[in-house]
Every structure is written in C-alpha cells, then in structure tokens.
C-alpha cells in the first residue's frame, strides 16, 4: 500500500489513451479552415454590394430634392429632380399588399394550428403554402396578368401589382404566424376554456396577443421582402416619371421600376438616379428589418 502512495502519478496500467495522430489533426485543422473560409467567402459579396450601393448612391440622396420631387418634366440627361414618385409607389403598393395579405395569412395560420389538426385539408394547405413560397415572382405576376388584365379586362395599375405581391407575401406571413402560434403554451388555451370562453374568443384575445410580437416581426420582414420585388411591377404597372396618387389607374412609378428604367440611361443623371434609387430601396428595406427587430424586442411577452 505504502509503495502505491509514494508515487500517486504512477499509472496502474500502461496508458490506454494516445495523443491524436498527426493526420487526424491535419484533417481537423483543414476542415476548420474550410468552414471558416466558406463563411468569409459569403461575406465578400454582401460587403461588396453594400459598398457599391453606398459609394455610388449616397451623394445622391443627400440632396433634399431627392426626397421631395419627382422626375416630372426632366429630360434623361438633365440632372436634378428626385425619387418621391417612386418612393410613394413602393410604399403604397407594399402597404396595400400588406393590408390584404395579413388577415388572409393570419387566418390560414390559425386554421393550421388551431383547427386543422392532422386532417387532409390541413396537410394540403401546408403543402400549398410551401409551394406558394417557391412560386417565382414572375409566375405570380403572369397569373395576375391573366386574371386581372386579360380576363377581368382591367388596365395595368398599381393595385394589380399589390395583388401579385399578396401571392408572394401570404406564404411568409403564414409560416411565421404558424411558428408563433405553435409556441403559445396549451395551458393558456385550456385555462381560457376552463373559464367558459369560446374557442374563437380564446384565439383572438389570448393566443394572438401572446404571439403578437412574433407575428408583427414576421409581417415586417415579409413587407421588406415584397417591396424589393421587381418582376410584378415590371409586368403589371407602367412607369411614370411623375407623381400619380391613384392606385387604380394610370402608370405609377416604384423604386425597382425606376431602376429598370434608368439602367440604360448612359448619362451622369441616369447613373445618379439608378444608384440613388438603389440605396433608397435598400434603406427602406433595412428600415423595415430594423422595425421588425425593435418590435420583437419591445413587444416580446414578459417571461420571468
């Protein structure tokens, strides 16, 4: 016994564990480097795109006229004017799209979480929402073109654009709302039922308020996404260099449409309008993304 105690670090048996062999260490290091490299490679285009947009567009938007004037009456090579008409178009088309999409999207999510269960219709709905997520924006635009312009006989208008954007926004709203409703604890619902509250009222007054911050965040992100869509405005609305407040008739500009229009303008004025519109669009989208983050922070349910 005493001999064992004399050398406490002595091993009873020959060592079982050996150091990690060199080849394994090399492989491990190589993989680590590759994985870090992949991330860094993906950062390059992001930084590069943002740098391009800021460097070329920032001087343009510093001019107060940019935010207050349209391009009405200006020639392609004449500098000056602004993007007010396009900013108005982008915001209004997005807003109208949101007003239509949000109730539909939320009701679909409620159906899926609260009523559908594992029924056939619920499965079909989930599948279709997935498919709708993947429908290319140009196909959505063509669909609205067929229904709204060919069959219903309406002209091209900003409203047609908004309906096409609805097709792109609804699946995003459904997905985020569904996720949020699912994490509302069942105990809350059961407590409400136990008090004799009808199911619909439980959903409206208990479930939705609990999930509200997540739902609003999702809506903001969805809005940010549809406002950058170009294909629907290209197919369904004509460009106007002046301000048009009428949603239902006449050409209306929007930032993407303005960019498509000015990209072939080789003059300095064209360059400024193109990149000015680009940075304005990116700023608007960033704003909505920030808003989403703020909402999720401020309205998040209090948890202890």
């Amino acid at each position: 016994m005493s001999t064992n105690l004399a050398d406490p670090t002595r091993l009873a048996t020959p060592p079982t564990f050996q150091a990690v062999s060199l080849s394994r260490r090399i492989k491990n290091g190589f993989a680590t480097a590759l994985v870090w490299g992949a991330f860094l490679v993906a950062i390059i285009p992001l930084v590069w795109v943002l740098y391009t947009v800021v460097q070329r567009g920032f001087p343009v938007i510093l001019d107060g006229d940019w935010w207050q004037k349209s391009l009405s009456g200006l020639l392609a090579r004449q500098q000056g004017g602004g993007a007010y008409h396009a900013i108005y178009g982008t915001l209004v088309q997005g807003l109208v799209c949101g007003i239509i999409s949000v109730p539909i999207g939320i009701m679909i999510a409620i159906y899926l979480v609260e009523y559908g269960g594992r029924s056939k219709l619920a499965k079909a709905t989930t599948f279709m929402v997935d498919i709708l997520t993947g429908v290319p924006s140009i196909v959505a635009a063509l669909f609205i073109y067929t229904v709204w312009i060919t069959y219903a006989g309406m002209g091209r208008s900003a409203f047609a654009v908004s309906i096409a954007l609805v097709l792109l926004m609804v699946p995003v709203v459904v997905r985020t709302t569904e996720e949020m409703l699912k994490i509302v604890p069942d105990e809350l619902r059961e407590a409400s039922y136990a008090l004799g509250i009808p199911k619909w009222k439980t959903i409206v007054k208990i479930v939705i308020p609990t999930a509200l911050s997540g739902i609003l965040t999702g809506i903001m992100l969805a809005l940010a996404r549809v406002m950058g869509e170009t294909a629907p405005v290209l197919v369904l609305a004509a460009y106007a260099p002046f301000i048009n407040y009428n949603l239902f008739s006449g050409p209306m500009a929007s930032l993407p449409l303005m960019m498509v229009n000015e990209r072939n303008n080789p003059t300095q004025a064209g360059f400024e309008r193109l990149w000015g519109a680009a940075i304005t669009l990116v700023l608007i989208i960033t704003l909505f993304n920030l808003l989403a983050t703020v909402i999720s922070r401020v309205l998040a349910p209090k948890t202890k």
């Binding site: 990690v20 491990n28 994985v35 490299g37 009701m107 993947g134 959505a140 004799g196 950058g228 170009t230």
Partner: protein, 354 residues
C-alpha cells in the same frame, strides 16, 4: 358582440340547445369545453356558439382559398397558353426559335430557354452548395456560441438585398472584374465546350458565368438557413457519444452531423434550385441577349424563362403574343413546382427533423 352567449353558458346548464347533429361529430380539437363528465342527468353535447362557427368557417375558408389559389394559377396559365400553343407554327418543346412579333405567325419554342435556365441554375448550385454547407456547419458547430446568432443574421442579410440590386452589381461591378478570369478560361480551357468562346461579348460580362455566380450568392441564404435548422437538430447524444470516443471536431461532424443532416441538406439545395430556376430580374439585367442559339458555353448569353418573360412584359399588348410568354411561364411554374415538391417530400420522409 357575443358576450351574452358567453354569459349564458354557466347559467344555461340545462340548455337543451345541443343539436343532435353536433353531438354526432365531436372533434377533439373543436371542443371548447371538455365533454361533461358522466353527469347524473342526460349527457350533454358541447354547445357550438355562432361566433365559433363563423370563426372556424373563416379560418377553414382561408385554408381552402390557398389550395384553390394554386390550382387557379395553373388553370389560368393553361387557359391563356392553349390558344397561342395552337397557333404556334413550330414545335413548342423542341424548337429554339422565339419570334412573337407577328401574332398571325407565331413561332416560338422553349428549348433554348430551358437549356439556359438549367445551366445558369446548375452553375449557381455548384457554387452555392459547398459554400452553404460550410456556412451551415460553421454557424451550428464551429462559430463561437455568442457570435453564432449575429453571424447567422449577417447571412440572412444577403436575402434582404433586392434582386435588382444584385443584378446591377453583377452587371456593372462584378462583370468587369470577372473579365480577365473569363478571358483566361477561354484561352486555356477553350477546347472544352463549356469554356468555349461564347456568342456574346465577354468584355461586357453579360454571360451565363456572371449570372450563375450572382444567382449563387442569392440562393446561399436559403440553402444555409434550411441546412442550419436541420444540423441544429442533431441529437445531442450522438455528438456527445462521438466526443466520448475521442473524435476530433471534424470527426464529430463527419460521423454525426453530416449523416443526420444529409437529407435536409439535399432538400435545402433543391429549394435553392427552385429559387435559381425562377430568379428573374438579376438574370434579366445581367444576361446579354443574343439572336444566335445557345452553344453549351458558360460564356454564352441568352435568356432564361423568367428573364425572357420579364424583358417582353412591358410590351404585352396582343393576347396571342402574350400567350406565348405565358406558355413559357407555365413551363417554369411546373418546373419549380416539381423541384419544390421533391424538396418537401425529402424532408417529409424524415420524422426526426420535426
């Protein structure tokens, strides 16, 4: 207001309002109040309030609406495409010509569009798949814990940049930068058909090569996001088991995370492919149009389904000519539908991902 109904509930315990039809179909999810336990009196079925019925109807209606909507998209596109297909003077599927300027003599075929669309998407996928895999592994396994979220946010920012901005960047900034590389590839590897000198001016950068790279950047976030979610669900026990056996970090990833997440990663890539096939504006801006046929080179120009439609869209004025583009749109719709459906069915086959 339906408050009176609510208030009446406890008082009306003897309410005979329970209709027999309702009692016959008590669905578990519907019952707002647990079925009355064996009461001494006759058992009562749950009372369905009008508010509940309306709300349920609205919700179910919205569910039905979306199913009908997808059907309607297919239906209306078909209805609009059929007359033009009938007027088509050449074979729609196997011809490479596209001339719709004279509605009385429509000549359109999609073969070139299909080839260019597929090649652009494949180039994008070949570039994006390995990088997205690396990023997803980085974010779930390698990144420092407290930085993983901000890093993931940065990748998601890529998805927030509008497609048209990527397109402008690709044409005006990336294209010129890629020119020396393109030139070098053509000079040294030109004997391989895909690196042959193409049918557009390489100096302008409007090639399938440029478009493929830009689309790759655009589909990175979706592939990364879906893969990341699956990798995150790798059972903790598997990972710990591998660590206990003395595996290095890479061996842990190779023996637990990758086998578990493989199907999810494939599915994510299919979703990315769906996006790439339908990518419109970036491709429209970048690709130089050409009248010569696609020659299997990365340095060709041309048009994809989506870019062809977008280019012509402002001038849709004749139903018959528009119908030709709608027919092309229909093919694109079917293509993306199939790719997305396959992607979803791969994930649906794996219960452990839920």
């Amino acid at each position: 207001m339906n408050d009176p109904v609510v208030a009446k509930r406890p008082a009306g315990s003897g309410d005979p309002g329970a209709a027999r039809g309702v009692a016959a179909a008590p669905t578990a999810s519907e019952a707002p109040i647990p079925p009355t336990p064996e009461a001494p009196e006759t058992p009562k079925a749950p009372h369905v309030r009008p508010g509940d019925r309306i709300f349920r109807g609205l919700a179910t209606g919205s569910g039905v609406f979306i199913v009908v909507l997808i059907g309607a998209i297919g239906l209306f596109l078909i209805l609009q495409a059929i007359p033009s297909l009938g007027l088509d003077q050449i074979n729609f599927l196997t011809s490479r010509e596209w001339n719709t300027s004279d509605p009385a003599n429509l000549r359109f075929g999609i073969l070139d569009l299909l080839l260019v669309t597929v090649i652009v998407s494949i180039v994008a996928l070949l570039i994006a798949m390995p990088i997205a895999l690396g990023i997803a592994l980085f974010l779930t396994q390698y990144a420092p814990r407290n930085l993983a979220r901000p890093f993931a946010y940065v990748i998601d920012l890529l998805a927030a940049v509008p497609s048209i901005v990527f397109g402008l960047w690709g044409l005006f900034v990336l294209g010129p930068v890629l020119y020396p590389l393109s030139e070098w590839l053509i000079d040294t590897l030109g004997w391989i058909p895909i690196f042959a000198k193409g049918n557009v001016n390489v100096q302008l950068g409007g090639t399938i090569f440029t478009a493929g790279i830009v689309v790759a950047v655009m589909i990175l976030p979706i592939i990364t996001a879906v893969s990341r979610e699956v990798f995150d669900r790798t059972p903790r026990m598997h990972v710990e088991g591998a660590i206990a056996l003395g595996a290095t970090k890479w061996e842990v990833v190779r023996t637990t995370v990758l086998p578990f997440g493989k199907a999810g990663y494939v599915s994510a890539s299919m979703l990315g492919l769906g996006r790439a096939l339908g990518e419109t504006i970036a491709v429209m801006i970048i690709l130089s149009t050409t009248s010569s046929a696609f020659g299997w080179s990365l340095f060709d120009g041309g048009a994809t389904f989506a870019s062809k439609i977008a280019l012509a869209a402002p001038e849709f004025n004749d139903t018959r000519s528009a119908g030709a583009y709608i027919a092309a749109g229909l093919v694109l719709f079917v293509l993306t539908f199939v790719v997305n459906a396959i992607a979803r069915s791969i994930v649906a086959g794996h219960k452990e991902y839920e």
